[in-house]
Symmetry: D2
Subunit: 355 residues, 4 copies
């Protein structure tokens, strides 16, 4: 109940603080006897790591994952996969000033009040560093899903107010073609300029990530409470800085009537339009799944701010450290990882409904 686990049959449990010994986790339920390429897992981690481009933080964390169990002679055994990512470049002294301070719109205040004791260094357990563990589990899940013909296209579709309106599936190479991970190069350049501008101001900016999933078999998702898009929504909203989620037509469906919005069936069971976003009644219908995730401008900015300490005294907080002005590019593999975790879980759950 402590909230550090995700999934039911395919399950990730994570541990670790940003400045402790290590972060890591246990992956349960990866099907047995499946070949796994551990290098591919590391490559996914590299897409998330800081310092990968000029528009990400200059902090260098190499995030080398070590696998401790569950894979033998290159194949899964069905046993849990333990892994850890040692923390490096952790300058704890950078954070001594945070011991008694509550940074605005961070989790310092709520953690202190909830637990009465916290690892204040760099956000501790509330740090987005934890998401590296999700990327590991997601990279394992994606290898299994890939063998089932399920593939992902995840990209930045909005930075601030600069939008790239699309629900298309773009190949990875087009997404990776620029630092902001937007497959439209022209818009990508505008986004990069905007991020650099914000960076120069010591401020931060939010945006949207679009995820499109192809090849999902019909039937994934459970009716009533565990609808596929409800679980995708929870998975996305559990990522640091996410404030919104919609699926298919989403919020834009409000401008339509039912007769415009209904997806007419073709003879082959596909639909003419896909306002449903690939999910009907909480269950995948075989059309591409598409959803959108909104990230707020992150709370850490390179500007001095006023705040309070543990005694309610007003304090001035000096900007310190090295941070991302826009986390969207690095959040792309996290969104994709969480989507993969959800899909593999539902794939396995779906196996149990027939004899």
């Amino acid at each position: 109940m402590a909230g550090s686990s995700y999934g039911t049959l395919f399950k990730l449990t994570t541990f670790g603080e940003s400045h402790g010994t290590a972060i890591g986790g246990i992956v349960e339920g990866l099907p047995a006897n499946v070949s796994i390429d551990l290098n591919v897992v590391q490559q996914e981690l590299d897409r998330r790591r800081p310092g990968q481009s000029k528009i990400t933080t200059t902090r260098k964390e190499f995030d080398l994952v070590q696998f401790l169990s569950g894979i033998f002679e290159g194949k899964t055994t069905g046993s849990p996969i333990g892994f850890m990512i040692p923390n490096s470049d952790a300058k704890s002294e950078d954070y001594e000033h945070m011991k008694d301070a509550f940074r605005p719109s961070h989790a310092d205040f709520t953690f202190q009040k909830k637990y009465g004791h916290r690892d204040y260094r760099g956000g501790g357990r509330s740090s987005a560093r934890e998401t590296a563990c999700r990327v590991v589990a997601g990279a394992l899940a994606k290898q299994v899903l890939s063998s089932l013909g399920i593939s992902f296209s995840t990209y930045v579709s909005q930075v601030g107010t600069i939008q790239f309106l699309s629900k298309e599936f773009y190949p990875l190479a087009e997404i990776e073609a620029n630092a902001v991970r937007c497959p439209n190069n022209q818009i990508a350049q505008q986004m990069i300029s905007r991020i650099e501008e914000i960076q120069g101001e010591g401020d931060s900016i939010g945006g949207c990530i679009q995820c499109v999933i192809q090849g999902v078999p019909i039937g994934l998702g459970e009716p009533v409470f565990d609808k596929l898009h409800a679980e995708l929504g929870k998975a996305m909203l559990s990522i640091n800085a996410v404030k919104g989620f919609d699926i298919g037509s989403g919020f834009s469906s409000l401008g339509m009537t039912g007769s415009q919005h209904n997806d007419v069936f073709l003879s082959n069971g596909q639909t003419e339009t896909n306002h449903s976003g690939g999910i009907q009644g909480g269950i995948s219908n075989g059309m591409p799944i598409d959803f959108r995730v909104a990230f707020k401008p992150v709370a850490t900015i390179m500007q001095d701010q006023y705040s309070i300490d543990r005694n309610g005294n007003k304090i001035s907080m000096e900007a310190k450290g090295r941070h991302d002005a826009c986390v969207l590019p690095r959040a792309v593999p996290i969104v994709e990882a969480m989507a993969a975790i959800v899909l593999l879980d539902f794939y396995l759950r779906n196996k149990a409904i027939h004899l």
Copy 2:
């Protein structure tokens, strides 16, 4: 894993199809030795039932809930509360034409493909009738939360493109003052006119519900995966026809920078602004929680439509039955019920983190 349960310590499990013998459920984890007014539960159900106003369907379902266990001499015993709502006015013959047909943007197709066998009458398990059970559990939860000082203000904030932009807490009487459950009477009248217009066209229309929760103690929500707003998001997205969810500043945060968005602390631990929507790091911070839920225009319309049958043959579906052109007014108590279920669950979970 069958998806018919919600919650961990406070848990609702539901059963029932729209045209079977009854719907019902089991509520587990309602704290022991608490006085419960069962009439209040019925009143909440009455807010959800069809036929309550001229802008809801004329179907008459009285939805009388019967409690079977767990409450003794007016107080909870800590044992599970079983309840049922008999199905009445179920004209099964109205649905014979649906046996082999897949209605557009309904769950007929996905249920048939997933299970190989379904109760096709009126949507069966996928019918929104199931949400009556959620209202029962939510009404129980709200009575407990109310004794803790937690209160809800839930209202329609958008119908089609007609918006009532507000994050204020309105008393129930103002919300109930009109048929559409929007506390601004002028905008409410526009919404009602629009719904009647759509009704006249045999079409349907979507909208948004705003929920504001006051009095939430600091500390509810678990970090990492079970963030409070992630679970609220899942709860809302599990409601029929919901396509989107955002919390606090939500999607509108994309037009702001971090320095504008950060909520500055006051000496008393409250914040000047509340872009966080009452939740920071996934944990309630004592400020009002506010979130928004987007409902698509519902799939059932009073217009003939083309579709396919189980063999992929094109068919024409004649409009039949009595349905809501806009479900938003009736969805208000459902949204509020799900929010209450989530909050009580997290309240109980929070008790277990200290000795």
Copy 3:
């Protein structure tokens, strides 16, 4: 967490007190599109019901189960199956004297202290009447398991100190051939005489139930914590009055050495002996599963007893009501039901470990 649910993929949740309106439950995860004979469920209930023979209580409870959902046109839909058994012949006034009294070795004292409020009539939630719901779920599970070639032989193997030492599989007809449900008719008559003797003394007596399961496929059970026999043990120990459980050689293995106890493999993968009781490393090995369940002499006796009331005052409790001197014969279908619930759950769990 309230303890009223059993199972993971195949799951039973129950509600109800012995003298409330009804008992009942929800069965989730019964595979879809399977034919179910509801009469067979009622027959199993009849094996558990009071008043069926001269050695069971003369209370008449007909325990008629009503199914409310999840079965359509004779087949499962994959949706939850709600059911209820109305309480009849409930003479609440028989129990008024129990309002403030704690019966020895019952749950009156612990329920009162734990919850602060309880339905004291006839044990309320702690009554063994709840096990009727388990029989319903077990009877559904057994129909599915039967189609997989899995069959059960459950019988009384000990009453007091009268033992029928056997791990054989007996057909149902031989077990049902006498009132005590022991397939050895000679020993059965001794058991019956002993029960009648104890009955005459107004006392009670315990015993053992043996369960033998044939046709279990290799591979059911999860390693480490959820070993098949660990879950069977929990399932049995959750039945009222059970005080002990062992599997295969069990407690009698203590007189053996490893070289005597090890089950030597045959070429076909079967074993010469079956001291393992059909389970090795927590996983079924294809040999018959056999285990033993010990029931204490039940606490309700027809003798006056001393006890205390809620204020700690010594009181004399007069023997009242109609009760079983030996619950073993009626517990046979309960043991079998719980075993079936566990096996179907592990059967479904095992499906999720391979792609």
Copy 4:
């Protein structure tokens, strides 16, 4: 669902094979802001480790636990505690001969059939080495329980047919006074002699462990399925080589009548006798909890045995390696750890039933 987790609010998830890189786990739900002495955890591990006395295996595994998260400045933060125990002295080549062989009464056969792929070295995931992780979690739980006044007395009460009949609570020093961990020194010497005899024969022998728990508050345990003794039973039966469990009077209750067996209340709510073993209706009643765990003679013996390989060919297996002739002494801390895990979980669950 993969079976590698135990507990609900207090939860241990483990990973690791006997000859992989490391074993380890994640402990969730340890209450926040509690002081923890990590040295005490290591001491518990030392009680379990091989090579500690002349009657345990001469394998040297130092089992040094490394904590990776969740404890900051000597106190818990409420965040998950990740830990690992590197594998040392792992002579993988000792096990090459096991690659295709199925050892009698081990889990080789069932793992191979279930998963299709296994780490065959030394039992891999099925090795009792995994129980070291349980001892770590149990040692953390015991520190919390100790602060609540709950204490454990766990000892060997039977080796082969040599019995020490007792349900007394013995201080740790008396238990640790001899190599076999039986607090009666005279019987202990007989047990040791018997083990040495069996050791000399290259054989193995089983026995019983008795666990007595004092200071348990009234009210732990959930009615119906999650009865306290049902969960204790599952916890014990999940330990390698355990074949039986009973609580209080257990199997010996069969020689008694109800009038003899009922525990008469004293005015203070305690009972004259304690045949219930401290639990009534599945809920602790404040009396000492006592239960018994039966371990079979372990399957690994130092004698040549016949068996089969993966193709069903008969093979002769030469005795190899260094093993325990009797695991009972080393199992004492494992039994105690699992009991502590169960009790802390139910302690936390009990907090959630009242507002």
